[in-house]
């Protein structure tokens, strides 16, 4: 493992692929259907983040708490990104700590690799995966408020995030989620949790049981985007019944070559290095970039939010 000084040193002068210029994407068509994704063709330059002053900027990652060199390098890349794109919060899609969870493990697998971000005031919001002890909910840097599942309003823009505990979907939690979604008045409803409802993972893949329970709620209550982990790679699905699903399970773990390219659900997949995602909510759009450990932009685009009248509509994808 590199020392903090070693891995921080090259970052100061490093430039990243994000610019403060306005988005290079064409303006999306007016949203008449469900959440639409506008993504550049594979060979086109990546969509540029707008870095707007009033946008809600986030980072997302999952399956990271290994304490390995790869995790530290991915964390370093997150810091490099942060230096040009000041995301305020990071959503964690679970498997926050692998193996032992002794006090020193919280340091090695979380506090040390993300120290520069924590010091800069970036707030992390965790959901729990199958490798996480329930007691992580009381760990202050995870901002779970001692709860296994919770929701919170974003500090800017009209967004609410919902953290679900997907290893233990008991009726009371599902009832809570339905009530929360129903009662939410925010324009954007974004779910984050561990087990993917849609994934092309050869190792785990889609959790169809959970999908049977959650998807109807997401459709009915107008969830626009779902962020998950568990499979150790990056994947963005084509909209499924109008909703865009991300698998972000490579924050420190990697299952090389595990994406089943024949699944038919993949809009973009990356399984050759670790990765994370950053993005910003601006009114009805979420502009995102997925970035690898080495700084390669592996995916980018814009998700348009679903609107009330879209609930239950057919999927629509609008590639550029």
């Amino acid at each position: 493992m590199k020392t903090r000084e070693t891995w921080l040193a090259p970052l100061a002068a490093a430039a990243i692929a994000i610019t403060a210029a306005t988005c290079t994407l064409a303006q999306p068509e007016p949203t008449a259907g469900p959440a639409a994704v506008t993504a550049p063709p594979a060979q086109a330059p990546p969509a540029t983040l707008r870095n707007a002053s009033n946008s809600m900027k986030i980072g997302v990652m999952g399956d990271f708490g290994t304490g390995t060199r790869v995790q530290y390098e991915t964390a370093a890349q997150m810091l490099k990104t942060y230096q040009a794109f000041k995301y305020e919060i990071v959503l964690l899609t679970g498997d926050n700590l692998y193996g032992d969870e002794r006090p020193q493990d919280f340091v090695l697998k979380f506090e040390k690799p993300y120290k520069p971000l924590l010091d800069a005031g970036v707030k992390f919001y965790a959901s729990l995966g199958n490798h996480d002890s329930r007691e992580q909910r009381t760990y202050p840097p995870f901002n779970m408020g001692d709860k296994l599942y919770y929701s919170f309003k974003a500090p800017r823009q009209d967004v609410r995030f919902f953290a679900f505990e997907s290893t233990y979907p008991e009726p009371e939690q599902i009832k809570w989620l339905e009530d929360e979604l129903k009662g939410s008045r925010e324009a954007w409803k974004v779910m984050f949790f561990h087990h993917p409802l849609y994934s092309s993972g050869g190792r785990h893949g889609s959790d169809t049981q959970l999908r049977g329970v959650l998807e109807p709620l997401f459709i009915k209550y107008n969830v626009s985007m779902v962020l998950t982990g568990h499979d150790h790679f990056y994947e963005r699905t084509k909209p499924q019944k109008g909703i865009v699903y991300f698998v972000l399970g490579a924050g420190g773990q990697l299952r090389m070559g595990n994406i089943d390219r024949t699944s038919g659900i993949t809009a973009r997949g990356f399984d050759t290095d670790t990765s994370f995602m950053v993005g910003e909510f601006i009114d009805d759009e979420f502009v995102f970039q997925a970035i690898s450990r080495t700084g390669q932009i592996i995916d980018s685009g814009t998700v348009s939010r679903r609107k009330a009248e879209d609930a239950g509509g057919a999927p629509a994808t609008r590639p550029r």
């Binding site: 032992d100 006090p103 760990y139 290893t167 233990y168 009726p171 599902i174 785990h204 049981q209 329970v213």
Partner: protein
């Protein structure tokens, strides 16, 4: 002759189809008897043996929760911003003291044989058919086959928590905050997630011949 053949073949086909449809309906009925996912399956009436077993189980679970709370209350009060060291100390101490208080506890104390029979009956239904196979696959995802567990054992840090299908949690009695159900291998475990302690377990809880 030919006409008769077609008639009888048609009748056989119709009968076969009817049988398939009936079976499908029966299976579907069996599998769709669950209430909406926001609700639990009602326990059997307490006038039956099974109903009494469920009541007894619920009472034992409550007794355990009370013990947990009592021991926890006796531990040093943690500050709001307690460090991981303080929390780790408290959690291990909680486990040690509960274990001490339940030194004579043995397998099937909480999950009594009658309760186990009821649970097994529910799980057989849940894990039946194609839907059941998908549920079983979900349970066995990263779940070590053949793992050994014991009452009062610390839940191994190296073993991830099994995913509990929503339907399984729907048919089992609700647990208090201090306890939860998990599968370790094919054992259904009653786990105290705060103390990381295995309170009881039921061996061979998953249907035979379907373990991945």
């Amino acid at each position: 002759m030919t006409l008769n053949y077609f008639r009888s073949a048609g009748a056989a086909w119709a009968a076969g189809t009817a049988l398939v449809v009936a079976t499908a309906v029966l299976t579907a009925q069996q599998q769709t008897q669950l209430p909406p996912p926001t609700q639990r399956v009602a326990p059997p009436p307490d006038t039956t043996n099974t109903g009494k077993a469920v009541e007894e189980f619920t009472a034992k679970v409550k007794t355990y929760a009370a013990l947990h709370q009592k021991i926890e209350a006796g531990l040093p009060k943690l500050p709001k911003e307690a460090s991981p060291q303080q929390k780790d100390f408290n959690q291990r101490e909680l486990g040690r003291l509960i274990k001490q208080a339940r030194a004579t506890a043995k397998q099937s104390d909480v999950l009594t044989p009658t309760m186990q029979a009821y649970v097994r009956q529910q799980l057989v239904k849940i894990f039946a058919g194609a839907e059941g196979a998908a549920r079983l696959a979900s349970v066995m995802d990263e779940n070590p086959v053949g793992a050994k567990v014991g009452v009062n054992d610390r839940y191994p840090d190296s073993i991830p928590l099994s995913t509990m299908p929503p339907e399984v949690l729907q048919v089992l009695p609700k647990m208090p905050e201090e306890l939860e159900y998990r599968f370790v291998g094919d054992n259904l475990v009653i786990l105290d997630p705060h103390a990381h302690l295995i309170v009881d377990y039921m061996p061979a809880a998953l249907p035979k011949g379907k373990k991945s």
